[in-house]
């Protein structure tokens, strides 16, 4: 008999919904202390230059200015903001305050003042003379023989290759082959909470950093190593996350604020403006991709080769890692026997690229799904049957890493999604009627479940039972505002059969929590969630053992229900959890507490097929997405409503990515998108009613069979929307975003 779940699969609001609804939830930007000072950063206004001189004397004379730091009085030591686990090898190329600026937005000086107003005034009094250098805003310019080196060693950072079979040779000999060039742009995460950090300095040399981060342990590692502090003396506390999407993954503000706190021996508040957050943190990565495939007469793709260029921007961060990650993600969704991927990573004088929802997958998927659509069109095959000839099947082996893709249900996503979207009817309506053109597009996408097969991927948790029968789960996890804590509450409550309100879940605090690898690679539900599941099982066992002593019977005679242990066959003979915990302490002199460290054991694919219907105004070039359906292979939905909300949020971000969002610079490197008036997010009137189809086939190692969803939700969107626009106009537009200018140019 299959036991019906009490908590798993139901819909719950995020655990702090009430305090958020009342405006009482405290975010890092709301924190204050009596001796707090304000920090402001001066950013460069030119894209590439040596600083000839920097004069802070006028600013220093301003009343209320405490201290100003530049390259002249700060460490020359370098760091990499992506350093997130011990032993990670990464080139370090970034200074706290630079002596050579590499993009508009580079950090030049840090001001500490008694008020924010004074700090802002002081910014304007710093005088800088630059010796300007030639600027490369594109990878082509940067790779040109005459290109000025942005860092020592040249602008080509690295070239990485991934190969299965003999793609290049096979394509060279093939007759039926297709080639496309696709590009995706630099984008902003657009979390509503700008980047912010609060540091409390404690004598003699301890610090607490309060930050909305994705890995408190990464913050600790980078800051402690840079400042030469003991890990035990530096406390990093994850605060309520006002949205991240990868943007707050890198350690930037925390390091600067901690340095300023240490130097001034004061509490520091550092809050970036929206412009600073767009330009001077990290961006989603721009990629150029040339894709060529050979196909047999039945529509089977038997070889593909990809040449990609990754625009790292002005500092390395994780761009070489991304170039590999994007390539590996090619091998997850389609089964192509010969596949060759080559990627160059290049410095440019533009904002630094870094973590972003899907990390490489939105880019490579956009490229490949536009390529696939183009091939289908040229072969005269429909979008669905061409894909079905090439998509992976359940338990296929990923050809590069040779691990199982698990219960991969992309085929069901596609076929069931098409039916639910009424795809074939919508396709019949495609084409121009008067001023407006209608079109339908689809795209498939896959994503990971953790780091398994690449790097360490573990979580530790401690679960204890209190003397009233309530539970505290101590984790090193980070709720990003997408319901991680609530999911863990559901998992614990389900395993222990206890009221969900009797479970409290704690998030990362490096002095008090067990270790967790962090919020990366869609690992939280799949890996950390499994840790929550396992630690609950361990504690359940301890509860039964304690009850066995109380009842003086073997533990196999016991059962748990509704927060009580009873004797099987004699349900009246029972003891409540609270009384049992109290007895355990007072009589058996033992605490009911469990520790679990769980390391990921697999990396199945999570999949989605998305369907978009658009209407293009052929006079203005404006695109409206009028209908949308996202079909997802989630394994098992833990919190159903939150899964839907995550998917819809991914679609909103993806529609912006496809149509409006871009961090642009002019030829001199001056940014053209510096706030939400020039960087357009999709608002409520422009969003279609996004329908979701949630497919639950289970079968993999996540808790209750759950797989990842939040990152995947954006992966197919861009291509689905772009394919729909191309369907409407009969075009083959391949360079995101499809702005009105590009559309009008293509029509005429």
């Amino acid at each position: 008999m299959i036991k019906k779940n009490r908590y798993i699969g139901r819909t719950y609001p995020i655990q702090d919904a009430v305090t958020k609804a009342c405006g009482e939830q405290i975010y890092a930007g709301d924190m204050k202390s009596p001796r707090m000072l304000y920090a402001k950063i001066l950013f460069s206004t030119v894209a590439h230059a040596h600083i000839r001189s920097i004069d802070t004397s006028k600013a220093e004379k301003l009343e209320g200015v405490v201290k100003i730091f530049t390259h002249a009085n700060s460490p020359a030591k370098k760091f990499n903001s992506y350093h997130f686990f011990a032993g990670q090898e990464l080139k370090e190329d970034e200074r706290l305050f630079t002596d050579k600026v590499r993009f508009v937005g580079d950090r030049v000086a840090g001001i500490v003042a008694e008020t924010e107003v004074v700090a802002e005034k002081a910014l304007k009094l710093i005088e800088i003379e630059y010796d300007e250098l030639p600027v490369a805003v594109s990878t082509t310019q940067a790779l040109h023989d005459d290109g000025e080196c942005i860092h020592e060693g040249g602008n080509l950072i690295d070239t990485k290759e991934l190969n299965v079979g003999q793609a290049t040779e096979i394509i060279a000999k093939s007759f039926l082959k297709f080639k496309d060039t696709i590009s995706t742009q630099k984008v902003h995460h657009g979390a509503m909470e700008p980047h912010v950090c609060f540091v409390r300095y404690e004598m003699p040399d301890e610090m607490s950093i309060y930050t909305p981060c994705q890995s408190a342990f990464a913050v600790r590692n980078v800051v402690a190593q840079f400042l030469g502090m003991n890990y035990c003396s530096l406390r990093v506390v994850k605060t309520t996350m006002g949205g991240s999407f990868g943007g707050k993954q890198h350690v930037i503000l925390e390091l600067i604020a901690a340095f300023l706190a240490k130097e001034t021996r004061s509490d520091i508040r550092l809050c970036y403006s929206r412009t600073d957050s767009i330009l001077s943190t990290i961006t989603g990565t721009a990629m150029e991709m040339e894709m060529e495939s050979a196909v047999d007469e039945n529509g089977k793709i038997f070889a593909t080769q990809v040449n990609a260029i990754v625009d790292a921007g002005s500092y390395l961060a994780n761009s070489v890692d991304l170039s590999i990650a994007a390539g590996k993600k090619l091998f997850r969704t389609y089964d192509i026997p010969n596949l060759s991927y080559k990627a160059k990573t290049v410095y440019t004088n533009t904002p630094t690229a870094g973590g972003f929802r899907g990390w490489g997958a939105p880019q490579i998927t956009t490229g490949f799904e536009l390529h696939v659509e183009n091939m289908a069109r040229k072969l005269g095959m429909d979008s669905i049957s061409f894909r079905l000839k090439n998509l992976v099947k359940p338990y296929d082996e990923e050809r590069l890493g040779r691990f199982s893709l698990g219960n991969a249900r992309i085929r069901e996503c596609l076929t069931l999604g098409a039916e639910a979207f009424n795809w074939s009817e919508k396709k019949k309506k495609s084409g121009k009627k008067g001023r407006y053109a209608r079109g339908a597009g689809l795209a498939c996408g896959g994503h990971v479940n953790g780091f398994y097969g690449k790097i360490q991927d573990c979580s530790s948790m401690i679960l204890k039972m209190n003397e009233d029968g309530s539970f505290i789960l101590n984790t090193g996890s980070h709720d990003q505002g997408c319901g991680t804590v609530r999911s863990f509450m559901q998992i614990v409550a389900e395993v222990l059969d206890v009221d969900i309100d009797m479970v409290k879940v704690l998030e990362a605090d490096t002095q008090r929590s067990p270790y967790d690898t962090g919020t990366f690679a869609s690992r939280v539900t799949y890996v950390s969630g499994k840790c929550a599941y396992n630690v609950s099982l361990k504690l359940r066992d301890q509860i039964l053992e304690t009850a066995a002593k109380y009842f003086n019977r073997p533990k196999t005679y016991m059962a748990i229900k509704g927060g009580r242990v009873y004797l099987k066959g004699d349900p009246e003979n029972q003891i409540g959890f609270g009384r049992l915990a109290a007895l355990s302490q007072s009589v058996y002199e033992n605490e009911i507490i469990a520790l679990e460290t769980y390391s990921n054991v697999s990396n199945p694919g999570a999949y989605a097929a998305h369907f978009a219907e658009v209407e293009v105004d052929t006079q203005t070039g404006l695109v409206r997405v009028v209908d949308y359906l996202a079909s997802h292979d989630v394994g098992k939905a833990i919190n159903r409503g939150m899964v839907e909300a995550q998917i819809q949020g991914g679609v909103q971000m993806g529609i912006g990515y496809a149509l409006t969002e871009e961090i642009k610079t002019d030829a001199a490197g001056n940014p053209k998108s510096t706030n939400f008036s020039s960087y357009h997010l999709i608002n409520a009137p422009d969003m279609p009613d996004v329908k979701t189809l949630i497919l639950e086939f289970g079968g993999d190692d996540g808790p209750f069979g759950a797989k990842s969803v939040g990152e995947l939700a954006i992966v197919p969107v861009i291509a689905a929307v772009m394919n729909a626009v191309n369907d409407a106009l009969g075009t083959h537009l391949c360079h995101a975003p499809l702005t009105p200018e590009k559309i009008i140019a293509a029509i005429h």
């Binding site: 702090d16 609804a21 009342c22 909470e193 505002g481 409520a684």
Partner: protein, 152 residues
């Protein structure tokens, strides 16, 4: 500059730098941090409050403009410990994820429902068009506002 104004039915008479923004007055002088700053130029709506019955971006209102005005913030919606119906519906419909847009979103919706107690879907979308949410696709928010209106 001496300013007389009302926030959430409480009268204030404070000496405030008129160059500050209403957002700073609320957050820094009155310690009401429920109102958030997302962009500082009136494009995201996270700082929305209600001033004399109209939803405004508090980052675009200078302190000098609040003299004699009646302001309502997210902190003022809860009466006698009871949440406003809109707040209840935002929680119930899962319209809250990271929560950073929530205060502004609820205040815009409150102003909308005060003026138009039974808005249709298009009117709700127009009512919150100045409020950006990055976590959702606005679906749960629309459902929450609809459920709190008398049009449901």
């Amino acid at each position: 500059m001496k300013l007389n104004f009302v926030v959430n039915t409480k009268k204030y008479n404070l000496d405030i730098n008129p160059a500050l923004r209403l957002l700073d007055v609320l957050r820094d002088h009155l310690n009401m941090t429920g109102t958030k700053e997302g962009c500082g130029e009136g494009e995201c709506g996270a700082c929305t409050v209600i001033m004399n019955g109209k939803a405004v971006n508090s980052c675009l209102v200078m302190a000098s403009q609040i003299n004699g005005k009646e302001i309502q913030t997210i902190e003022g919606l809860r009466k006698n410990g009871e949440m406003d119906l809109l707040q209840e519906k935002f929680v119930e419909h899962g319209a809250i994820q990271c929560g950073f847009c929530t205060s502004g979103m609820i205040m815009s919706s409150k102003a909308l429902l005060t003026e138009n107690p039974s808005p249709d879907d298009e009117a709700i979308k127009q009512g919150i068009e100045g409020n950006l949410c990055r976590c959702s696709g606005y679906v749960q928010i629309l459902n929450a506002v609809k459920d709190a209106s008398s049009a449901k």
